[in-house]
């Protein structure tokens, strides 16, 4: 598994604006080969629960913002996955600590 430095997928820092009116917030990082893939991966990794309306990916000193026109295709498909939220499941009142 020894791979030299030049063969590694570069690391990108990810910033997500959770809703209009708020700042982009750093949420973590991920590996991608370029900015486009970093954006797509960020969408899949950091906004699985519709947490974002805009994503920035930053590689070293570069900053790239996602296109506003992407919003529908980026985020709406996550709106119909309520089973990712705890309130989707029925747990009887007698059962505590869950």
């Amino acid at each position: 598994m020894s791979r030299n430095q030049s063969q590694k997928l570069p690391l990108f820092e990810i910033f997500v604006r959770s809703k209009r009116g708020l700042d982009h917030k750093h949420v973590g990082s991920l590996h991608a080969e370029d900015h486009e893939m970093a954006l797509q991966h960020a969408r899949d990794v950091y906004t699985r629960r519709s947490e974002g309306v805009s994503i920035w990916v930053v590689k070293s000193s570069d900053i790239v913002a996602s296109q506003e026109g992407d919003e529908d295709a980026f985020y709406d498909p996550m709106d119909d996955k309520p089973y990712r939220h705890a309130t989707f499941y029925e747990v009887p009142d007698e059962v505590k600590h869950m």
Partner: protein
């Protein structure tokens, strides 16, 4: 970034570091930290990441066979979350100077460990319920504590993970509830899953405090905020009534409520089994690593192609 000098007997920055921890302030990536703290953090975070990633396999084993389309979507979403959580954690470890490649190499060589629970097989659909209920239940207990851990990126990753995992345990319990209200065959399936997963779940909290030499240092650095035995006791206390509600029997003849302690007393874990699994001799250790290696190797040409394409594009842009 100032680095710890291993030849210095005692760095005078250490008291400042400890004082910050004692004030419950977070340590951030660029702060000075003792080399041992850095190494401990990398080890713990990367092993946590590996647990999420290897944990995809036993549950992933049932995605294509889930009994309804709703269950299939839920299970796939859950396993995908685990991949995401592994990624958050690798990302946190990378702030300490570790690389994803090195961490994966350590996982595949056996140098780095992951939670022993994922070395048990998922044989029936009920095992998916038991894992969500028990394994995620135990993991959440540990992770809630880690939301307050002293290393900032780890703590923040944990907050995100805990928020997302709230559905994981519930979906598992919901499966168990459905089975326990179902046919005799389904009830038996649920009981069998509890029988096989109960003890390995208790093992998830790690060795007894007496046998856990790192606990004291970890408590002092506030990496851990509670000991293994404290967390294990709390898990038993809250899980036993949940099992009773399901009408299932916890497979421990020594289990009973201790009125004076106001806790459940419970039997002794089979520590030989625990250490065997940790050493790599559990039912599925070899299978799990082989699966990870196979996927990683099969992905090699894809990763190489992505880099080659990117390099070509960059040089074309430079030439233009």
């Amino acid at each position: 970034m100032p680095q710890d000098n291993p030849t210095a007997p005692m760095d005078d920055r250490e008291p400042v570091f400890q004082a910050r921890i004692d004030r419950d302030e977070k340590i951030e990536p660029k702060d000075w930290m003792p080399e041992k703290y850095r190494r401990t953090m990398i080890r713990q975070i990367s092993q946590h990441a590996h647990s999420e990633v290897i944990g995809m396999q036993p549950e992933g084993n049932w995605i294509t066979r889930a009994p309804s389309l709703r269950r299939k979507a839920v299970l796939l979403a859950k396993v995908q979350d685990e991949a995401g959580h592994g990624l958050y954690l690798y990302s946190a470890a990378e702030t300490l100077g570790a690389t994803r490649e090195d961490m994966i190499a350590d996982l595949q060589s056996g140098k780095a460990k992951y939670s022993s629970i994922f070395n048990y097989p998922t044989l029936t659909w009920a095992d998916i319920g038991a894992i969500g209920w028990l394994v995620d239940g135990a993991a959440i207990m540990n992770q809630v504590m880690l939301c307050r851990t002293s290393y900032g990126p780890y703590a923040r990753g944990m907050v995100r993970i805990c928020k997302e995992e709230s559905f994981h345990q519930r979906q598992g319990y919901e499966i168990m509830l459905t089975l326990s209200r179902g046919s005799d065959q389904q009830k038996a399936m649920a009981q069998d899953a509890l029988n096989r997963y109960w003890w390995p779940s208790l093992m998830m909290f790690g060795p007894r405090d007496d046998d856990s030499p790192n606990t004291q240092q970890s408590m002092k650095w506030r990496i851990k905020r509670q000991t293994n035995d404290e967390l294990r006791q709390r898990f038993v206390d809250q899980t036993v009534p949940q099992a009773e509600y399901l009408g299932l029997t916890v497979p421990d003849p020594d289990l009973h409520w201790n009125k004076e302690r106001e806790h459940y007393d419970f039997g002794e874990i089979d520590w030989d089994e625990f250490w065997q699994v940790v050493k790599g001799n559990g039912p599925c250790n070899r299978q799990r690593i082989a699966h990870h290696v196979a996927a990683h190797e099969e992905g090699e040409w894809v990763r190489e192609a992505a880099l080659a394409y990117q390099a070509r594009k960059a040089s074309a842009e430079e030439a233009a």
